[in-house]
């Protein structure tokens, strides 16, 4: 049963631990910049870009540019992203016996 649930999680858009970490980081913030996100999670820009593109394609995050002294890329979690995160966390709690 647990293996099935873990497989279900692995097949979901947040099945990748890196993407799950990105979504969790974004959940507790209104939005963050691409650079802050890369620094906080210790990712290279190329690596982060790759995972963000996948998450954006799945509709889980939204990226846009804001203008200050320099154009900055902002990242935020979408409603769908929160839904998927809720599912992923529920599965993880079931697996460790929390629920």
């Amino acid at each position: 049963m647990k293996v099935e649930r873990l497989r279900e999680l692995a097949d979901s858009p947040l099945g990748n631990p890196t993407r799950l970490a990105i979504a969790l980081y974004l959940l507790s913030r209104e939005r963050t910049t691409f650079i802050e996100l890369a620094k906080a999670l210790n990712f290279t820009p190329g690596n982060l870009e790759f995972h963000l593109k996948a998450l954006e394609k799945a509709g889980l995050v939204r990226t846009y540019y804001g203008f200050g002294k320099r154009p900055r890329k902002f990242v935020e979690l979408t409603e769908r992203g929160t839904d998927e995160l809720e599912k992923a966390m529920r599965i993880l709690r079931e697996v460790v016996g929390g629920d």
């Binding site: 969790l24 959940l27 809720e86 966390m89 709690r93 460790v96």
Partner: protein, 211 residues
């Protein structure tokens, strides 16, 4: 087995972080008003004297317009905060259904506080400055008190930071009545409300760090 233990620990760490974030979001209204109320007071008093444009454009209504803008700003920020807290609660697996009655009672409490504060301050035989100072203390103290009461009735939870903010603010009515020229009554009220709200914000953050 080791993997499950590691996963359990990781999950607990994530949930602790999310809980901390949620509680910090709950402190937002107190921190917002603790900062904005003195700013409004200063701008409302300084701008008519320093800016001819402000004086000519808004006349005696400058303070009221600034306060309205601050309320609009707060509502916009607070609606985003509420959504964030709800998202965090959903992911934490502890979604708290906020009934319509609860939401209505939270807003209605402020209207009731405003009406009571207006009636009491109008009935007080005193100068305009004292009346507005009394109005401010009553509005803030009763408004936060009604919020705490609504949480108790609908969520069965005592919000201690709100109760303390309400008590501190309302108890300042006594020294206000005995200032006897020691300081401007409006400045006194602004400082009391700002300090008590900052204290409320501090209590929320402190609790978040403990739990």
């Amino acid at each position: 087995m080791g993997n499950v233990e590691e996963l359990t620990e990781a999950l607990k760490a994530v949930e602790d972080e999310l809980n901390l974030a949620k509680r910090v979001y709950l402190a937002f209204p107190f921190i917002f008003w603790a900062a904005v109320i003195p700013m409004l007071y200063l701008l409302g008093n300084v701008l008519p004297w320093t800016s001819e444009w402000f004086r000519n454009s808004f006349g005696g209504y400058g303070g009221m317009i600034l306060s309205t803008l601050a309320i609009i700003w707060f509502v916009a920020e607070e609606s985003g905060m509420i959504k964030k807290v709800e998202s965090l609660e959903r992911v934490l697996g502890t979604p708290r259904k906020r009934s319509k009655g609860y939401m209505v009672s939270q807003i209605a409490g402020w209207f009731l506080a405003g009406m009571l504060a207006f009636v009491f301050s109008l009935a007080t035989p005193a100068q305009y400055e004292f009346k507005t100072a009394e109005f401010m203390l009553l509005l803030a103290g009763l408004g936060v008190g009604f919020m705490a009461l609504s949480s108790l009735l609908f969520l069965r939870r005592i919000e201690w930071p709100q109760v303390l903010v309400s008590i501190i603010t309302l108890s300042a009515l006594y020294p206000l009545a005995h200032l006897e020229g020691a300081m401007n009554p409006q400045a006194f009220s602004v400082m009391v409300v700002s300090a008590s709200f900052a204290f409320g914000g501090f209590l929320y953050v402190k609790r978040a760090m403990r739990e």
